[in-house]
């Protein structure tokens, strides 16, 4: 079992992969600005239901998905907008889904917590904590049976560590050497409870019990996450079986947008510290500039373009029609 906690920087003379890391930056910015729009839509009462923001955790989704092919599979969570975008979903159809419009990815039937998109291998976000561990493992099983070389990534939060089915499928994945990567996004809080109050032992110890290749990574470092993802994807494609990555991260907002008064479970100073010292976008932006891969004007330009994209996507969604009520009976059976 590997327990490397940080990526080693490229040594002198090794040219960084400029285009790749700029794309990773752009993807993280797009997710951040998408979520800002979600927050705005929600607080203006334009968005029905619940909104669980991914802000602060962008490096995990992007670091992982940049190591995947378009036809590799992911399963996502209730906090899933970042995973969908990182895997290639379009913001316009995502916003449309969030607003319950027919143009949405699920024709308005899924909403924020259930975005699914076969074109990008997204098997669906899941509103049952740990609910998709079987689906992701099953997709890996199918990939192996069909010999199509695809891997499956199962994103889940540390709250899912409390679900028994997670251990059932990890056991099977290891027995059957399935190409699946379990990505535990440890944002420290099971909803409103610190994970230390709900989690005995260690997180990696769980994977170790099954003999699964496992590592912990700084989830605010997109390059470190990507390095582990690339390594685990390569193993999986080579038939060497599953892996488990614990990505330590932080969610900037509450459990959902309405979770405003949260000092009873975490302090404002803790939140502030993560935002100022551990922000994945700032950290990666600084690295790009330090490495000579970019400059602040270019990074500002990326943000401006992303903002324009998100505003247009919101406009598309707001103006899109609702489904006609006769569609309520469609799609129950294939």
């Amino acid at each position: 079992m590997s327990t490397v906690t940080s990526r080693s920087d490229p040594g002198p003379g090794i040219a960084p992969d400029q285009e790749k890391w700029l794309r990773a930056y752009r993807q993280m910015v797009r997710i951040r600005l998408f979520e800002e729009q979600v927050n705005e839509l929600y607080t203006r009462a334009l968005m029905p239901g619940l909104a669980h923001l991914y802000s602060g955790e962008e490096a995990v989704a992007v670091g992982i998905c940049e190591a995947l092919h378009i036809d590799d599979y992911i399963t996502s969570t209730h906090r899933g907008h970042g995973h969908c975008l990182a895997k290639g979903a379009s913001p316009d159809r995502m916003f449309a889904e969030l607003l319950g419009k027919e143009a949405g990815y699920c024709r308005g039937k899924g909403g924020s917590m259930h975005i699914a998109d076969p074109a990008t291998g997204n098997l669906g976000a899941n509103a049952i904590v740990g609910g998709s561990v079987g689906i992701a493992t099953g997709a890996a099983f199918a990939s192996k049976q069909l010999g199509n070389g695809r891997v499956a990534v199962c994103f889940f939060g540390e709250g899912a560590l409390g679900q028994g089915s997670l251990y059932e499928v990890i056991n099977l994945a290891q027995l059957w050497k399935l190409p699946v990567i379990y990505v535990c996004e440890n944002n420290l809080y099971n909803e409103y409870t610190h994970y230390s109050e709900t989690t005995s032992g260690t997180i990696l110890g769980r994977a170790a019990a099954f003999g699964v290749e496992a590592a912990v990574v700084d989830g605010q470092d997109v390059r470190a996450v990507n390095e582990f993802a690339a390594r685990f994807v390569k193993r999986a494609r080579a038939g060497e079986g599953p892996a488990f990555l614990q990505a330590d991260t932080y969610r900037y907002s509450g459990h959902h947008v309405g979770d405003v008064n949260r000092e009873y479970y975490r302090s404002k100073s803790e939140e502030q510290q993560w935002k100022t010292e551990r922000d994945p976008i700032q950290l990666h932006g600084k690295w790009l500039i330090d490495q000579g891969c970019s400059d602040s004007a270019t990074l500002d330009q990326i943000a401006t373009e992303a903002r324009v994209e998100m505003e247009a996507a919101v406009k598309f969604a707001v103006e899109a029609p609702y489904p006609s009520t006769d569609q309520v009976n469609e799609d129950i059976y294939a």
Binding site: T75, R107, I128, G134, G164, L172, D331, A334
Partner: protein, 328 residues
Amino acid sequence: MPERELTFAQAVREALAEEMRLDSRICIFGEDVAQAGTPFKVLSGLVEEFGAERVLDTPISEAGFTGIGVGAAMTGLRPVVDIMFGDFLTLTMDQMVNQAAKAHYMSGGHWKVPMVLRTTLGATRRSAAQHSQSLHAWFSHIPGLKVVLPSTPYDAKGLLKTAIRDENPVVFFEDKMMYRLKGPVPAEEYTIPLGVADVKRKGDDITLVATSSMVQVALGAAIQLEKEGISAEVVDPRTTWPLDDNTIVGSVRKTSRVIVMDEGYGRYGVAAELAAVIAEGAFYDLDAPVKRLGAMHVPIPFSPPLEDVTVPTEEQVFRAAKDLCGKS
């Protein structure tokens, strides 16, 4: 040439084998399904023909391997998942109810889940409260699932082949007391559509709507009733979802009297639903109230004399039918 006969178990096995020969995407997994062929030996011989890649023993992890079935079905396989006893379905509920049943709808029709979950129902095997239940009503309650309840070897084979070819999650309940029941099964290819009831016996005076294990009970009662001059029609819905309302209601309109029978609990169960469908569809044709017979509302007890009174019997049906026909 005499008509070919198979047992219920052989009919199930033959359906699986035939479909697996036709479609390499079909695989079977569950506890002790390979060399053991399940405790009921329903699957004996399949791993020898199709190999350990297509007939896979799993750990005792119903939630885990059912979930794997859901994901595999979404991504190109057609899994047949084996849940040894219907009582263990409790462990699969999130995967079946929140995942399998909803993946198609929640994704706006983009993903589909062509899987079959095979399991058992039925009491009187002296197996007590956790190996005897008939829980098919739970799944019939959930939109997105289909529920199949064969009552003869012929139906078991034809319905299972259709279930495997269906693009949706299908829960297939086999009465474990029926595995040795013999019946005619033609060697030629045939399938039976889901959602089409079968009139197992024609009659004019009273309708007995019976599912799965209760079909044989109803047929036995019908023979007794005939001696009393009462002509009973036995209607087997064969699937509780989709449900063939028309055949059931049509029979009751003709006979004007009905008993609905199901081995699940009568209250809030399949029998309750059948009674409601009949009340809505045939109220003005009824000459007597709809009579409902299901399992007693108790956990299934172990002691044989206790267990035996929990399940409707031929004698009960016979007496209830005579009452309804004013001949008691």
